[in-house]
Symmetry: C2
């Protein structure tokens, strides 16, 4: 497989940077081809402006790769600015959006279709805070909801199949002694060596009957009972009692 890893951490010797180095090695040792865009090392221009040009080089890497990995620390509950700028600048019209027909009943090829259809993508994220803070009732909000705008809005949008994220919590300096580091690496390795077989998140496709046209609202009754918010846009297996 061909893997494109986009890294957005300023310090290669940090925990986050070390995990990225480890990830590239695991993939290469397993015989995969890996391209890394280390955005800080590249001094990547983060800001879209009126004089901007298309980022063909990064687009080519996206086209080349079977798998895109976004590797970043969670800063203020989102991506670092340099990675957001990578998205803002690389995801150009005609490449990531404004793809395919635009009619009232087919508002372009996106959310399940698009130029990245058939490829896979995954976030690998380090989080300073503890997992409890990001649990279903944690004060930071559920990590899956915080990552939803990235997983659904940035990765699923141009057609990627999105794998569940690999998230490492509690990463402040001193919180990762050697035995924990070994465990994190083993868990990450497991995920990296199953990139091609891991079940993607079952987001609903835009243009295949689940949404009203042209409003793009989920049709009534498709969600699970009581389900609200981002969660309704993911298909679930039927509840156990209906399968019995």
């Amino acid at each position: 497989m061909k893997v494109f890893l986009v890294l957005a951490h300023p310090e290669s010797q940090s925990l986050n940077g070390s995990l990225a180095t480890y990830a590239a090695k695991v993939l290469e040792d397993a015989g995969h081809e890996v391209k890394v865009s280390d955005l800080y090392a590249m001094k990547f221009k983060a800001v879209v402006d009126g004089d901007d040009f298309q980022e063909y080089n990064e687009q080519e890497k996206m086209k080349w790769a079977d798998v895109l990995i976004l590797h970043f620390p969670l800063w203020w509950y989102g991506m670092p600015a340099i990675l957001k700028g990578w998205v803002d600048r690389v995801y150009a019209g005609g490449f990531a959006y404004w793809v395919g027909e635009y009619t009232p009943t087919h508002q372009s090829d996106r959310f399940g279709e698009g130029n990245m259809a058939g490829k896979r993508a995954m976030c690998m994220v380090t989080v300073g805070g503890k997992a409890e803070n990001y649990s279903a009732r944690g004060i930071a909000g559920p990590i899956d909801d915080l990552l939803w705008p990235i997983n659904h809005g940035i990765l699923y949008y141009p057609g990627y199949d999105v794998l569940p994220p690999f998230v490492t919590f509690d990463t402040f300096p001193g919180h990762v002694p050697p035995e924990r580091w070994e465990k994190i690496c083993a868990d990450m390795k497991e995920r990296l060596l199953t990139l091609d077989t891991t079940e993607p998140i079952a987001y609903r496709k835009q243009n295949f009957g689940d949404y009203t046209m042209p409003g793009l609202e989920l049709k009534p009754g498709l969600e699970q009972p009581g389900e609200t918010g981002f969660a309704i846009h993911t298909q679930k297996a039927p509840p156990a009692n209906t399968a019995a």
Copy 2:
């Protein structure tokens, strides 16, 4: 009042830029003092790096102002990189986080306390897509959930009282004829002239009994029946049947 408006749009003649210009004028005409940081015009450095310095100038404007306004277009379901970079760089340790005591039962002054306590903040956002796409069942996800990491994670975190956002949908070129523009301006003016009286979003305070310590998970039973996700972190009025 003193208002600090942070603007993150590359084109001052755009709809978004024009609304920011209008907002500043409305506030000044009403006798308020206004400072604007036009991040593109300032060529604001968006990327935190190892050689970084504290952004004292922007911090001083935050301390000076009674109200902070973040004015931006929604790009890829979040802030433009230049504004995320403003947060990443201005929100420094000791100023926006690591404020106050850090113990297992008081994990710093944040989420309801902090250096910005007593001040107010609001997002003013333009969105290309239509409102239906961002409704409770819309494919983009509910706009309040998309903005939650900003409203709760960035504005509420250092202590701001967060006002409901002012969101303008369907802003693609040609979609805002003069009569719609007048309506948008009138609505915005109404919000700007009530900045000091608008009821803030009733986020729950971290350190006043609603959360477990040290896990910071919402204690059982405080949410509304059936409520999940980000919504549980906002206090609601009691259901009508318990008030009766």
